[in-house]
């Protein structure tokens, strides 16, 4: 997924990092003491162990950005691709002592200090092809379809007769939308399947793949919430954690237009073992250094349910928002992904009926 254009640019990022670093120095001292006495590691409370892991695994530090947030940058207004200064982004990860990220960036060819855009595009395509494999393995299409079917049914019963447009925000190479186009009959039910991303290379690839398989879906380069691209139902996968602090609320606020009926944003569910599980899984399954690094960091950066729901309720109070599918069946075991969902209040009673306990946390 690529939302770099909608994200703050490097300048803003530097500001955020500087705010974090003052708080970090005291912690670093404490952690240095802990690291110098390895035995302490096992008797420390959970919070301290987490901090320890931050020092031991600097690539897991959630305060830093992901590599993919930095190697592709766009002008937020014109969406034009901007040159990326390699030493500048290396400096960002140097501050976190993140050698993994440094190694991954070092490998990207540069010309006169700026990353070679073609090499970056090739890398991003390789990574997105690889990420699709994970979506296939976790049956992501099936999960999204189940929720969309229920939402569409609720919209139809509440009187929505016209076409319904589904927009995948930060669609990347458009796996979810292409899967829905290929494996469901939604397009025959007057549902338009679209994807929007700020990275034109990924959008071109999504369109190429859709054309190659003659799939009834389209992908656009632009802002998903602009007047010409906006939809009735917004979906996304692994996008929310890219927005930090106020930008999360700003992102969600864009759902507040009158056409929006619902949104379903899937993202990693944070819990104690998530980064460990993610690390293990990425080592086994992923091949590129960037995918391995960002995949694990994503789980460390993922927002918890409280943060997501609070942000959504502050941003779009006119929608009923909550978390969908946090637990496996009726057990306390967490799913890898949970979804921040929002619906027009009129849709909620029927959705509760059709989705049952999966929507248990919706008010």
């Amino acid at each position: 997924m690529n939302l770099r254009g909608a994200q703050p640019t490097v300048c803003f990022l530097r500001l955020t990092l500087e705010q974090n670093s003052a708080r970090g120095s005291a912690l670093n001292f404490l952690l240095a003491v802990v690291v110098s006495r390895p035995a302490l590691r096992f008797v420390l409370p959970a919070r301290a162990q987490f901090l320890y892991s931050q020092l031991v695994f600097p690539s897991w530090n959630p305060a830093q950005p992901e590599i993919s947030d930095l190697v592709v940058q766009h002008d937020p207004k014109t969406l034009q691709r901007l040159p990326v200064n390699k030493p500048e982004i290396l400096k960002i990860f140097e501050r976190f002592q993140n050698k993994k990220a440094l190694r991954a960036i070092e490998r990207i060819p540069a010309k006169e200090g700026f990353l070679d855009p073609a090499a970056v595009d090739r890398l991003m395509l390789t990574v997105h092809w690889e990420m699709q494999r994970l979506a296939e393995e976790f049956y992501h299409g099936h999960r999204v379809l189940k929720l969309l079917r229920a939402t569409i049914a609720a919209m139809r019963s509440s009187g929505h007769t016209g076409p319904i447009r589904i927009v995948d925000v930060g669609c990347g190479i458009g796996y979810t939308i292409r899967w829905l186009a290929a494996r469901s009959m939604l397009h025959k039910e007057d549902v338009e399947l679209t994807g929007v991303d700020l990275n034109s290379t990924l959008v071109n690839e999504a369109n190429r793949l859709a054309t190659q398989e003659a799939l009834p879906c389209r992908f656009f380069h632009g802002n998903a919430f602009s007047a010409d691209l906006r939809g009735h139902i917004y979906i996304s996968t692994g996008v929310l954690h890219h927005f930090r602090g106020d930008s999360l609320i700003a992102f969600l606020r864009q759902h507040g237009n009158e056409t929006t009926q619902a949104f379903v944003h899937y993202d990693f569910q944070p819990w104690a073992l998530a980064p460990f599980g993610s690390w293990f899984f990425h080592v086994i399954r992923m091949r590129t250094a960037l995918a391995r690094h960002d995949g694990v960091l994503s789980t460390a950066r993922a927002h918890n349910a409280h943060t997501l729901v609070s942000a959504a309720r502050a941003a779009v109070p006119e929608l009923t928002t909550g978390i969908y599918g946090a637990k496996i069946w009726n057990t306390p075991a967490p799913r890898v992904f949970h979804a921040l969902v929002g619906f027009r209040p009129a849709l909620v009673p029927q959705l509760k009926q059709s989705l049952g306990r999966m929507l248990g946390e919706l008010p």
Partner: protein
Amino acid sequence: MTLLLLFLLASLDGALCGCRTSMGRCPLIHNRKYYVMGVLRGVFAAQIVSGFSLICLLLVVAFSRNPQLLRADLVESARRMLFVFLPYAALVLANIALRIVPSTDLRSATSVFFLGPLTGIRPLVMITGVVAGIWRAQLHQTVFLGLFVLTLMLSVEFALNSYCNRLQQRQIRSLV
């Protein structure tokens, strides 16, 4: 029978290696044909390795001073290897079979809790299996053959991965 079982296990391992090394390299939705090709490529690679191993085995037996003893030693070693390889293969196959159940959670759980970790420990299982087989071998030839086959089997995934990576990079270069 023991050697045949080992051959079948090697073919199964090749098939899964072929599938694994193909994954994440074809972004189409209808990619069954692509994966079938990947599996067949893996099986083919396993046949090459098995064939090469068989030739080496026959040569070693042919030049052995005591072919009867060597054959018995080889079969006994192979039998010991099966104690490690068969449960591992059964576990992998059981989890693949579980994915027939139409539950996204169950299918995902097989990946997270079993297929992923089982892939991770594959090299370890292969080494353990071969070491268990040759540990009590009476002849040096058996030890040599065991280590030779282990090296070949471990290199299958590496070779397939390199091949698939080359194909993928060529395809991506044609796009960007």
